[in-house]
Amino acid sequence: AQESRLDTIVKRDKVIVAVSSTARPNGFIDENGRHTGFEVEFARLMAKALVGDPDKIELMTTTVDGRFPAVLSGKADFGISTATIYPDRAVRLAFTRPYIDSSTLVVVPKGSQIKTLADLDNENVVLGSTNSAAMVDRAKKYAPKAKAIFFDTDSAAALALKSGRSTAWQADSAAANFFVGHNGDEFVVLDGSLGTINNNAIFMKPGDFPLWLALDTIVREYVNGSRYGEYAALYKTWFGKEPPPQRPFNQN
Amino acid sequence: MSDLIPPATPAPLVVIDRVGKSFGPVEVLKEVSLTVAAGDVLSLIGPSGSGKTTLLRCVNYLETYERGLITIAGESVGIEQLPDGRRRRKSDRQIAALRAQVGMVFQHYNLFPHLDVLENLTVAPCRVHGEALGPVRERALALLERVGLADKRHRYPSELSGGQQQRVAIARALTMQPRLLLLDEVTSALDPELVGEVLDVITSLAADGITMMIVTHEMAFAREVSTSVAFMAEGRLIENGTPEAIFEAPHHERLRSFMQRYRAGNRL
């Protein structure tokens, strides 16, 4: 059998992780030029567990187009890059259990006709979002009458809302909260979340059981187990609130 | 000034009045004055680089000139003298209208390589004057016949010998039925037989009343065909007069030495 990537990582004494640098607050470059964000810091926690030091890590930054090829080709050991577990994807990628549950929020201008999530399903609504499978499906499901438009990045979708190109914007809770936090006098988040919870998980090349087992176990220990404390602190730092309490994976 | 000449009198067709032109710092035409009467055939002779081609090009306004004025049938060429003394370029339309009446045959033929021989002849009359293709074709074929190239009408210029291209260029200018014809060394690529033929053509054109200005190095040709001859050297018009006067009794020293060389060459 082939050598497991896990051995390679241990021998190399460093992990290579595919992350994003343009998805605040998950992965971005901060004012001091440091690559950081919830997912990037979580990747460092993974490195700490795998090779004993959060700084023994090499961050491989790709756009959305390149994140899956990056792990499939072996250029990166695994990826942490807002990848939602999605049945079609699971055929070709291996996912660990999720490291975060995220919800989808809708942002509208203050004083908009759209007062509730139910108002979205209307011919006059232009609903903007990123061009991801989950967003597209949600738009179809919850606002079939509305016109849906899709952008490459959240910032472009936000710009569309600002410039009036769209009348509502659905986004990952992290991005939506950050945006409204900065533009609170002009925009509001509608109450409630659009659809169910998403599970973002670590992804890797399929067929490497030892590595998958190790990653999955480490994620479990952070999210549900012995290292929950570190995870909770990280979560609080980036999202300003307590994480959901420890729970078995199949809870939702 | 020359544009005050009333066009009703039997005026000279072309009046070149103290024309001057420079390429950058180099003055290539210096105060050239010359008139060509309607029906005249004027030969321009002179050493290489003396400005003959440049003068011919100015008459067609292919070259602008900075000083003096050229008029054709009382109409100034290319340039308008404003009452306040300033010079203004005429409109493209005016310039094109003038050129359509002035035929020119170039030293380098300048045939259109993407058109065949017949198209080279018909393109201008059809597109400029909007004449119907039928009569223009007739005329073009007759001209090709006359220069001995009727069988080459569907060849492209690159498939013709030098002399053949030369003759096509002459025919092309004639298809426009110009009233003034400018010829720049049109016989240089022609053999003696053809020189004779072209000479016939030119003589018959002169009989038709077409005025011509001919730059040439062949003195025999100049002498035979022209009603007057002008000699240029170093951008100046040195002497002009009847062929007899120029060839037999040259006044100017420069012309005399030029003629001497010529006779020395021709004695052979």
Binding site: T61, T62, T63, P69, S155, L159 | -
Partner: protein
């Protein structure tokens, strides 16, 4: 903060310049070879060059970059990212450059070949001394087009983990969720780079204005 952003963009611009120069160099050499094959080469090779031109130009560069960078390891070729980008980008734009050179070389009149041959020049000498210098003038403006497109296409390297000017701009934009000013800043940097290149081109073109 503004200055630190500008510095950050400047670093990205340096990467962009480096990659661009590499790509343009490869594209020029390979493009000339392709053009020569098409015009004067052995016929089957010429057709092969034409087919290469059609395919290479027809496929998006992004796809080529992702396809090659992530597949090369399978072939046992673990080249550094910049090398892959320079090679793949260079070969890709070579197909465009080849078209430019082909048109320019063909426009030099046959009589120039005759004149060179009559002086006893062999093909290669004739080509380098007589034909190429004249073709250069005609090819310059369209070649500049290709070069500028190449410069701007270096932004695609962020898909395979590379980082350059646009990536830097996007990172700044996403940090602040203000993408438009960031992009305008990026555009300003591009303008400086591209304008310098096109000014060099224009200068050379002017010097060659002898006809």
């Amino acid at each position: 903060m503004l200055t630190s952003s500008a510095l950050y963009l400047a670093q990205g611009a340096l990467v962009t310049i480096g990659l661009s120069l590499g790509i343009i160099a490869v594209a020029t050499v390979a493009g000339m070879l392709l053009a020569l094959l098409r015009l004067y080469g052995w016929r089957p090779l010429g057709l092969l060059a034409a087919a290469y031109g059609l395919v290479a130009r027809g496929v998006p560069l992004l796809v080529l970059l992702i396809g090659s960078y992530f597949s090369l390891p399978y072939l046992g070729l673990d080249m550094p990212l910049w090398l892959v980008v320079v090679l793949i980008g260079g070969l890709y734009f070579a197909a465009y450059a080849a078209e430019v050179f082909r048109a320019a070389l063909a426009a030099v009149p046959r009589t120039q070949w005759d004149a060179g041959r009559a002086l006893g020049m062999r093909r290669f000498q004739l080509f380098t001394i007589v034909i190429l210098p004249q073709a250069r003038r005609l090819s310059l403006p369209p070649f500049l087009n290709v070069a500028l497109v190449a410069v701007k296409n270096t932004s695609l390297v962020s898909a395979i983990g590379g980082w350059e000017l646009v990536a830097a701009g996007r990172e700044i934009g996403e940090r602040t969720m203000e993408i438009l000013p960031a992009y305008l800043a990026v555009a300003a940097f591009y303008f400086v780079i591209c304008f310098s290149i096109s000014q060099i081109g224009r200068h050379v073109e002017k010097k060659m204005r002898y006809v």
